[in-house]
Every structure is written in C-alpha cells, then in structure tokens.
Amino acid sequence: MRWPVLAAGCVLATFILPAAAAEMDNMILTHVSIERLEYRVQDGDDVGFVEGDLVIGNDDHKVVLGIEAERSTGGGQFEGSEVHLLYRKPISDFFDVQAGIRHDLAPDPETTHLALGLTGLLEQWIEFEGNAYLSDDGDVAFRMEAETEVFLTRRVFAQPLVELDISASENQAREIGAGFSKVEAGLRFHYVVTGGLSPYVGVNYEAKLGETADFARAHGEDTDATSFVAGVRFAY
C-alpha cells in the first residue's frame, strides 16, 4: 500500500514542479501510445495482447501510466497483466531515467514491484528500455527491451524486437526461477497509414528459460510458443 501512495506523490510532484514554466516551449502535453494491440494465432488457444502507455508531461518531467496484458481466447483468463506508473526525467540527449511502481494483476499471486530504469535511443537507432524491479516479497528482477525500424519502402517498415527477463532469485509461488526466465523475439511488418497509425503483421516467439521453463514443464505447460500476429500500432 505504501507504493501506490509514493506513486501518487510522484504524479503530484510532476505537476507542481513545472508550474512556473507554463510557456509554449515547455508546455504539458498528453500522449497515448498503443505500441502493440494484436491477435496471436498459435498452437492451442489464440491470444490477444496489448501494450501501451499514457504519457503526461513537459520536456523536463513526465508521468507514464502503462499497461501490458495478454489474454487467452480459450480460458478467458489473463495470462499476464501488469500496469506501471513511472516518473520519467531526461538525463542525456537521448536517455531518460524513470522510477515508480509496477503492479502485476496476473498471473497469481498479485505482486507489486518498485521499478527503476532507463529508456531512450541507442546508437544505430535502437530503442532501448531497461528496468530493475524489486518486488514486495523481496525478489530482484530485470527486464530489457530493444527494437528498431528498418524502412523497406517509404511506407513499409520492418520492426524487429527482443525482450529479455532475468530474475536474481527464485520465487516458487510465481513459478519464476533464478537466471534468465523469459525471452520474446518478434518481427513485425508495419504499413504506415499516418505517423501515428500503422497496422502490421508478423511473427512472435516467446519462450520460458532455465528453471522458469522447468516450472512450466512440471505443470505440463508449453515452454515456448510461436505465433503469427496481426495488429495495429496507434498513437495519439
């Protein structure tokens, strides 16, 4: 319960700090980005997936409310579902530092994490986000995401992305082992309708790794899944 209060404090601070700078060159803007809203066709039940965020702030301070959720079409259960609330601030030309909380609503049990990380643009146009998490039961974990865009024509671009989860400790209840726990790799082909709207198709591969995969096997679950995806990226 402490952490949501902390987060609310962050939000409040963001709007109080820049109160002196209400000029156009530092105005507070609101952006919604749905990075991936997609349907995944794979062995077994198909899956719906969404990842996106709401960013409110000016050049100096931002608040990010994000969501990532995955739901199987068969069971009607959320496979995974998390929300995060972060405060973000520039630390260099291309990078922001961010801190806040992440709350996992699924899978069971619900878990809250403190989050601290970096997001920005690496050389060669690689968008990078890396976060460290400290959960309310004391586990430390890391997640890194990298993606880029390669224009094939002026309207079609390929978007390779990878995401890697690492856990510093084992958590039986959440079925996560120590070490590399999950990898996701995708290749999506977008068609640019406007700079803020691009439908896409592609492939996505997800695999549980190491001890985390052992947990899955012990429950008779698949450890990996390859899916064909169709979806849309949208920003406003």
Partner: protein
Amino acid sequence: MKLRILTTLCLLLGITPAVAGTYDLEVGPISLDVSGQSVDGFAINGQVPAPLLRFKEGEDLTINVTNTLKVDTSIHWHGFVLPFDQDGVPGMSFPGIKPGETFTYRFKAPKAGTYWYHSHSGLQEGAGMYGPIIIEPEGREPFRYDRDHVVVLSDWHEDSPMQVFRNLKRSPDYYNGIQRTVGEFFRDAEQDGLDATISDRLDWGEMRMMPSDISDVQGYTYLMNGQNADQNWTGLFAPGERIRLRFINASAMTFFDVRIPGLKMTVVQADANNVRPVPVDEFRIAVAETYDVIVRPREDKAFTIFAETMARDGFARGTLAPREGMSGEVPDLRDPPRLTMADMDHGSMEGMDHSKMDHAAMGHGMGSMDHSKMDHAAMGHDMGAMMSGEDDDPFYAPGSGLEPDAANGGKFLSLADLRAQEPLYDERPYDREIRLRLTGNMERYMWSINGKKLSEAEPLRLQYGERVRFTFINETMMAHPMHLHGMWKIVDVGAGKWNPLKHVLTVPPNVTISADVEVDAPGQWAFHCHLMYHMAAGMFRKVIVEGGPEDTAMIDPELEKLWGMANADAVSGAHH
C-alpha cells in the same frame, strides 16, 4: 484636440498632411477544403490568404483589427519598421487582442516593397492567418514592369497545428515520409560500394541523426494564393509584358525551390529591399522570406510557376497565361535531397573516422572556420576551385546535401548574389559581436539558441545607437530562417556597403553567417526562427533595446509581466 491643432499647424505652414488611410480587418474562424477534407482554420476578413493590403509609402495608417474568435489573436506586420508597441507580438509589444475586442494599430507605412502580415498568437499563422502587403513607392522604382502579381506560397495541414506540434514532440519523424529505405541502400551500394554505404549508414546511426531530415513536417497541401495544384491559380499577362511576381513564403514550415520553366527570372527585390538585378533560373525561398522577380514572357502560351518543396514531398503550382483556363506542363518532383556529413555539426562529429568520408573531412574543416571573418566572394571562388563544381554556394557547407541545383542546370540564386541597390545605412564598423549558436535536440523536438529555450533565457539587451554584429552558428542539421523584428539585418556577403538587407536570414546546417544590425528601434522585439514549430519549441529570444528617444522607449511594466518568460527567468535566476 491635439490632432486638430496639428492639422491647423500644417495648414498654417502650408504643408499638406501625408496620405492617411483607415482599414478594417476582422479575424474569424474558417473551414477550408483544399485537401479533400474540410479543416478548421483562422481567416482575416473570411479569406485565406488574408486580403492583399496596398499602402502608400509613408501613409498614416489606422488599422482596426476586430477579434471574433473565442481565443486571443494578434497581427504582426512582417518586416515593417515601426514603433514596437504596434508590432503585434502578444506579451512583447502589446497584450494581444482579446475575443470581441478591436485593437487599433497606428503607424506610418514603411518604405516601399513586398511584405506580409500574420498572426503571432499561438500557432494561428499555421492555419490560414497570413496575407500579402504591397507598399507602393512615393517615387520611381529602379526597375520597370507592366503589371504585378502577388504569389503567396503556403502549407495547409489536415492535422491542426497543435496536433502537429504534439506529434512532433512525441515522435519527431512522425511526418517524415522520405526516410531512407532498403532499396536506397542497394542503390547506394551499387554506386559508392558496399563498404562505403555500410559505413555511411553506421555513421548516421552512431549520431542518431537522419540524412532524410530535410523538413520536419511533410504531408501538407501546398498552396499558391490559397489554391492547390489542381485549382491552378492563374496570373494573366500580355505577351511581351514585363511581369513583376511578388513571391511571399507564408508557410509554417516549408522551404520552396521556385522556377518557371521556359522563363528567366530577374530578382529585383529580397525581403522588401531592392537588390541589383540578378537573372536566375531558380531560387529557394525560406519560410517568411519574400523575393520579387521580373519575367518577360514573349510567347502566347502558358508557363507553369512550379514551387517544389525542399523535401520534394510536394509542390505548389500556378500558371502565367495570356488567358484564363490555360495550363503549362507540370514537371515531375525531383528526388529528395539527403544531408551529408558536411551538414553535420563540428562538435558532434568527434570520434568519427573522417578518412572514410568523401566530403566530410573537407566539410568538417571548413565548417569549423569562422565565415564571418572571411570575404565571402573570395571564399566562394576558392571553394569553387576546391570542389567539383564552379558554382558552389558559399552559404552552404561545402559538400552539403542541402545545396540546391537548378533543374535546368542553370543559375540558382545564392545569398552571395544579393547586393543592396541603395545602402540604407552608412558603412561603419560594428561596436560588438553577439554570437548565437542555433541549437536543438531533434529526438526531443527541443529547439534553442545557445542551448537555451526562450523560457530559460535572459533577453538580449542592445543599446540604442550601437551597431551589433549577430553571428549565427548553426549547430543543428536543419536550416533556420532567423527573423528579427523591427530592425534590418545587413547580411555580410562580403560586399561591404553593398551588403543586402534582410528581415529573414536563413542559416543552413553547419554554416556560420554574420549580419550587422543598426540598433535604431527602441523597445522590445521578438527574435526567432520562423519555422513555426521551432519557434514554439523555444528557438526564440526577446530583444530589448535600451535607451533612445524617451517617449518610445517606455515599456509598460505590466507588459513585461505578461510574458511568462519573465517569471521563468526569476525562477531559474534564483538557482544561479
């Protein structure tokens, strides 16, 4: 009462009062369909562009501007030399015009030439609020023409200006429709070799810059006198007549390369100042510039006025014809230009292997030189010999990808070609130099001067009577049309007293240009990049001219407070 005494006095002394005119303008909303979709904008007297205003040089003007909008508005008289409180910049010259209010501008019409007017409130000028002005001369002009046409170029977007600004802030390449593709990679590999092409891609990737970053906003519908390419605005002529075309670039963000296939154009005026005539085949007009050219079509046929955007994402088009309803051949768009390493700023190039780059080593060396201390005419010549072509423009970095070539292989106008027809000021050395680095962060869409946005910076303070040299050092990858209100910039093209006067000075990437300013206008003035979203994002300074005639130098302390900047200064000042 005062006026009556003055009039009586004039009559007694046998002086006839100068011409005086009263004009009424009304600012209101408009819905305009020039792109296939109805879009809301702002209009003056219900027109986009706003009505052509014709004033007489020295005319005593009374202009009543009524605001029927639900938001504040303003009108700025672009390029006019006038009292600062009539300049029309909210928070700098006056409080702005509130909804329902009428503000009366009173000033004397400036010297003859082609000018324009536009809103200086928010982003209104990007949505239709601009129009042409002609100041007719008292005496004769140094060139002859039989008739004239105003050619207002502009850009019209279906996204509202605020939406465009938001999109740029979230994703600076949102409107970039000319990104480098895989196909281009293979073409380059074939032409320059695979190694060179890969290392070129890696160099750009290392800097996180885009060679395709020619214009921030594409996807506009480009207009000529408010008409799209299909509507084909037509200006009439009788064969053999000399036609004066008064080009005004009233765009928010778009540079145009203008040509009239089949006709030579003679440039006679730039930014309302007569220049020694320069015959050209093509010229580039930056945002907010004006160029007057004279053409003489002798044949009884239609000629296309073709204004291609610098990014080659579209064009504005019109026709010069002996009769209505005719049209000439419309050329194809050329390939978009690509920035080269020569356009890259010196400071950010550290750590790169210059030996791998063709022009870069040279561009690098030249770019870091101080052009202000060189005779540009001589330099242009030397560099012409150094580089492949003879006609390299000294006002672009050598090897620059932005440097234009005429479509027909002929003469493309350079800033270096401009010479004042008659110098406005005596030649004298400048008293001091103010160096302004044009800076920005493209990824965050932040634009600044000397690394500071308007809200973070102290105003520039000038002393009445001094001559100040402004030296612009462009450290970004974009060309910035810098506009100083109220005072002329005498651009150093190496021609001494014949240096041309401009109200907008375009500074291409990785180039340093100097211009002298006679500080003869008391008050406070706006000084900014005229790319509307660069201005909005902070590439802006307030200039305060201290001293001078007491009556005009009075700055209302309330006005000072209006500009949020003053408060921001107080806050940031406390930390230093």
